[in-house]
Symmetry: C2
Subunit: 131 residues, 2 copies
Amino acid sequence: MRGLVLVAHGSRRAAANVEVAELARQVALQAGARYGVVTHGFLEMAEPSIPDAIQQAIDAGATEVVVVPYFLSAGRHVTEDIPRQVRRKQADCSAVRMTIAPYLGALATIPDLLLKLASGSLSCETEQRLA
Amino acid sequence: MRGLVLVAHGSRRAAANVEVAELARQVALQAGARYGVVTHGFLEMAEPSIPDAIQQAIDAGATEVVVVPYFLSAGRHVTEDIPRQVRRKQADCSAVRMTIAPYLGALATIPDLLLKLASGSLSCETEQRLA
């Protein structure tokens, strides 16, 4: 069974971490049969950690885990810190196949999404306009 | 003429700021006739500032400016800091209509994009797999 682990940076603001948990819930709802379990973890400043989030997926029965970095920039977190944590977990759990998906900001569609945001032509959860 | 101002947080890592400049260039390439000018600015830690990026768009002839926050989370930066800077600039330039688009993370399609990232079915600029 495949598991998806959404990984975010983690924030001192509890509300930002709750947003990530809610996003993981939305991903799970939309995953259908593709992923039997969806968990979320944080690189720092919040719990669960990335290894713990992977373990939650394994405990739920995942034999393949894909880690999806919810990051916009290919900074050290994306290129070094997340891979290091996943590799360490992989070394402990050799029976589970772990991969890291491209980070969100790597999507080739980002410029188009930004243009659609600018024109208000995409549905959004919130909108803000200057008063 | 309409201008689009892409706003990112700004990083101590020069490469991350260059990524934002490159993204703005891609947005400009794809904007076609919709936006006569596309600039980019940073909330902190890098130049140009948000007011300066708006001014660049105005100097290029923009009479309407839409600010697009390249942020994933509706934290204080998105809800307070960016609007405050744009409002202040708006007060100085009453002839130019300024609006703030929803931030990237507000897109209702984010869960679907994450699922597509996980399955490798969307084209990306970079990919990383565990060795």
